[in-house]
């Protein structure tokens, strides 16, 4: 697949309302700058994120996917992110096993006060994915644009 001109990575981040989403708001309040490529989906808790959402995001054309929540021990719902941790440690490995580059799916703990960490993480992840180029793996667009004939 040829790289489109003016291609910009599309990154989706599932963020918990109490920590990372708040941290992102704080980054805004402090006028911190990070790339426009990151789009947040607000969920109550990182444990709300069904690993199937990740597959869907890749399928529909995201170049990078993130799941962010409170640090373990700080979950607003006490134990949610312990489940998150288990689920995505496994999912991440399964994705990599199926050929997804490790950088394309990442999970991070970012608290409500870690605006700088939020900015740095998003900047860094965007750069990594820009480096990797557009993702075609798992993407249905690949089919719509001709499928196997592309190869």
């Amino acid at each position: 697949m040829s790289v489109e001109k003016n291609w910009e990575p599309k990154i989706i981040a599932f963020t918990c309302n109490w920590c990372t989403y708040t941290g992102a708001d704080l980054a805004g309040l402090n006028r911190m700058k990070y790339p426009e490529n990151v789009h947040l989906v607000r969920v109550p808790c990182s444990s709300r994120v069904n690993p199937q959402f990740i597959l869907r995001a890749f399928q529909k054309g995201c170049d990078g996917v993130m799941v962010c929540g409170c640090h373990p021990g700080d979950c607003h719902y006490a134990t949610g992110n312990y489940f998150t941790r288990r689920r995505f440690m496994l999912m991440k490995r399964l994705l990599e096993y199926n050929g997804i580059d490790p950088q394309r799916f990442q999970a991070r703990w970012i608290s409500g006060s870690e605006a700088a960490k939020f900015r740095d993480t998003m900047t860094q992840v965007t750069a990594q994915i820009r480096e990797l180029g557009p993702n075609s793996k798992f993407q249905e667009k690949w089919y719509q644009e001709g499928g196997p004939e592309n190869e």
Binding site: E8, K10, I12, N17, Y21, T22, A24, D25, A27, G28, L29, R31, M32, K33, Y34, P35, E36, N37, H39, L40, V41, R42, V43, P44, C45, S47, R48, V49, N50, P51, F53, R56, A57, K60, G61, C62, H76, Y77, A78, T79, G80, F83, R87, R119
Partner: protein, 660 residues
């Protein structure tokens, strides 16, 4: 087809300076189903809100998307606004164009592109929104306090003073707990009984407080506002309705038993009051040790001497069930049983090696020695006393890994009391660290050293007897040499551990404990008196070791929390909670395992299999308990359990919309 209205807010220039809001409105207006797409200078202002209300009427909108500041700022504002319209308040989504777009980006073109994406995601999501309705739970304005120590007493009094009914349950025959056993309290050295017994009397006299001693919680069901609690009133064998507490029975009773209130120093009778100032000031019979009740003799002397015929040997346990709106757990602590753990300190073989609580009784004017410090073995006044701190605390191998927090201070207090009461005495305190974080605490520690206490930094390795002396060996780690003290008496300042039976209470209440069995608070910093279960609060040492000031403070805090619950007639529950699709649910119970609030239970429903009617199990969510985290939804492989407001469908739509 849905009719979505979209309002893109300028937020003054906050958004408009970095995002081409007009372009956003224009682009969004092209999405099928969006019938109204405009911009507004200040959407959250009164005119802004009015504009939305008007648009709803004018364009027959059935859902709204607002591109503005973070939803954490004005989501509630706009939901309130929608309450006055024909649209359900939950038919609203907010795209975060300020904090997560305009403020953090520098390229206007790209920021505008991103803003379009964000609003498109919200438009996609709102398309799947469903009207949600808050439900109301009636609040039963009566509180249950479990445990009648100083924490329970304080909490009960505070709640009662606020005008609510309280039931205080205590398993012992009297309230008072550990505090009433103490002689003096640090650092002010006021008499413990003098400050705690008036509170006990207040409890018994308070019109809003029902005191239930010799009672235990048997079962708890329900949820905040509506806990059904069954309480077991243990047989007392004395009719407290008639008894005047004259005490005649007690003097005549022939059975003598080791006195637990005095920590085994001294004896009590089988019919007894826990201590002289007990509340209620009426005796009970200890069935295990009563000659008549345990069948070892005919006896019945108490029955014969009682002038009012209060003794009832036929008395039975009774179960009482009542409804409470909130529960305060104040089950307290006890001291670790060092005799089972520390062979090097003699495993309890030496009578003069005693615990701190035993010393409190020895030095207490109402104790077995009437306040004279006499060593238990021969009733002689000790001249050289060794105090050993951290026995069972900070000892991962034999005891507990944590610091018990109060021992440094009461160790200093014991030293002070000995030096004051026994002229010419010497006190040696073996310590590892002296921890005095509290008002006036460091000063008190200094004073104890001025009094003449010798502090030796090191743990005692062994205590043994030679003649009538107890030889204590330790290392003074500051000089790096082993030291030996010949003592007449040794006081071990032992670790606090949760009161016996806390495990049962915790499981009955459906709350959790930490690894050391202290009751788990909802959040260590921000919700220290709450539990994971709404309506159940914590007071005092059941949550972790603490001293009296902290205990009382936490008890009052718990009382305020209870009053908070009681401040409304009904409680509104968030409608954004999990819901089970019973048709799809296969009953695997996987969601139950993931729920931090025990909000999911299994229930039996009618079903069909082929042409047979059968009963099958499905999950069901308790709306009083569910807090809407959604952990269950990601655990459900079928997708039978879903989180209202953040449904699988809604989130997938958002994902899809981003990728258009």
């Amino acid at each position: 087809m849905s009719r979505t209205g979209v309002i893109i807010c300028h937020c003054g220039t906050n958004i408009a300076s970095m995002v081409d809001v007009e372009k956003v409105a224009e682009e969004i207006g092209k999405i099928p189903g969006v019938v109204y797409s405009v911009t507004n200078k200040y959407t959250c202002s009164e005119p802004g809100q009015q504009m939305i209300k008007d648009a709803i009427e004018e364009h027959s909108l059935d859902r709204i998307v607002i591109g503005a500041c973070t939803p954490r700022m004005h989501e509630t504002t706009f939901r309130k606004m929608l309450k006055g319209t024909k649209i359900n308040p939950y038919m609203l989504e907010i795209a975060n164009l300020r904090e997560q777009c305009a403020w953090v980006h520098t390229d206007k073109e790209k920021a505008t592109e991103k803003a379009i994406s964000l609003v498109r995601m919200s438009v996609a999501k709102v398309g799947s929104n469903k009207p949600l309705f808050t439900s109301f739970i009636p609040i039963h304005k009566k509180a249950l306090v479990i445990g009648g120590g100083i924490a329970g007493i304080q909490a009960a009094l505070d709640i009662a003073d606020a005008g609510h009914e309280v039931t205080l349950v205590e398993r012992e025959p009297s309230i008072g707990g550990k505090m009433v056993m103490l002689d003096k309290t640090f650092p002010t050295l006021d008499c413990s009984a003098c400050i705690s017994t008036p509170k006990m009397v207040d409890v018994s006299a308070h019109p809003n407080i029902t005191l239930k001693t010799s009672c235990e919680v048997e079962a708890v069901t329900g949820y905040v506002g509506n806990f059904e609690v069954t309480i077991r009133q243990k047989a007392r064998y004395v009719n407290h309705d008639i008894c005047t507490g004259c005490g005649l029975c007690e003097t005549k009773c022939p059975s003598k038993i080791s006195d637990e209130f005095n920590q085994g120093i001294g004896e009590r009778k089988a019919i007894y009051k826990l201590f002289p100032q007990a509340v209620p000031a009426k005796p009970v019979i200890d069935a295990q040790n009563c000659r008549k009740l345990n069948g070892s003799a005919k006896c019945g002397v108490c029955q014969i001497v009682c002038p009012l015929q209060c003794i009832d040997f036929e008395d039975k346990d009774q179960l009482i069930t009542e409804t409470y709106g909130a529960i305060v757990v104040a089950t307290g602590y006890e001291l670790i049983d060092w005799t089972k753990l520390y062979g090097e300190y003699g495993s309890g073989r030496y009578a003069d090696v005693i615990s701190g609580l035993q010393f409190e009784r020895l030095v207490n004017a109402s104790g077995p020695t009437e306040g004279h410090i006499l060593r238990p073995s021969d009733q002689k006044e000790p001249k050289d006393v060794v105090i050993v701190k951290c026995v069972g605390s900070r000892d991962e191998k034999k005891g507990k890994s944590y610091c018990s927090r109060a021992c440094c201070m009461y160790g200093a207090k014991h030293a002070h009391q000995i030096l004051e009461k026994i002229p010419g005495s010497n006190v040696y305190i073996f310590y590892m660290d002296v921890r005095t974080p509290g008002k006036g605490y460091e000063e008190f520690y200094n004073r104890t050293r001025e009094d003449g206490a010798t502090y030796i930094r090191g743990r005692v390795a062994k205590i043994y007897k030679e003649g009538d002396k107890l030889i204590c060996t330790g290392e003074d780690t500051l000089i790096g040499k082993p030291v030996t003290v010949k003592a007449d008496m040794v006081i071990l300042e032992t670790a606090m551990v949760p009161a016996r039976g806390v495990e049962e209470i915790v499981s009955k209440l459906g709350i959790s404990m930490d690894g050391d069995h202290w009751v788990q608070e909802a959040h260590p910093k921000l919700r220290p008196v709450e539990t994971q279960t709404a309506g159940i609060f914590l007071a005092g040492t059941c949550q972790g070791p603490k001293d009296i000031p902290d205990t009382v403070a936490q008890a009052s805090a718990a009382a305020v929390k209870v009053c908070g619950v009681f401040s409304k007639e009904q409680m509104e529950t968030s409608p954004m909670i999990s819901r089970v699709n019973e048709e799809k649910c296969c009953g695997c119970e996987f969601c139950v395992k993931c729920c931090p609030y025990s909000a999911i239970a299994m229930k039996e429903i009618d079903g069909r299999e082929g042409n047979r009617k059968i009963k099958r199990m499905v999950a069901t969510v308790n709306s009083g308990l569910c807090q809407g985290c959604g952990a269950c939804t990601a655990a459900c492989r079928t997708g039978a359990i879903d989180l209202l407001g953040y449904t699988n469908d809604q989130i997938l739509k958002e994902v899809d919309a981003l990728c258009l």
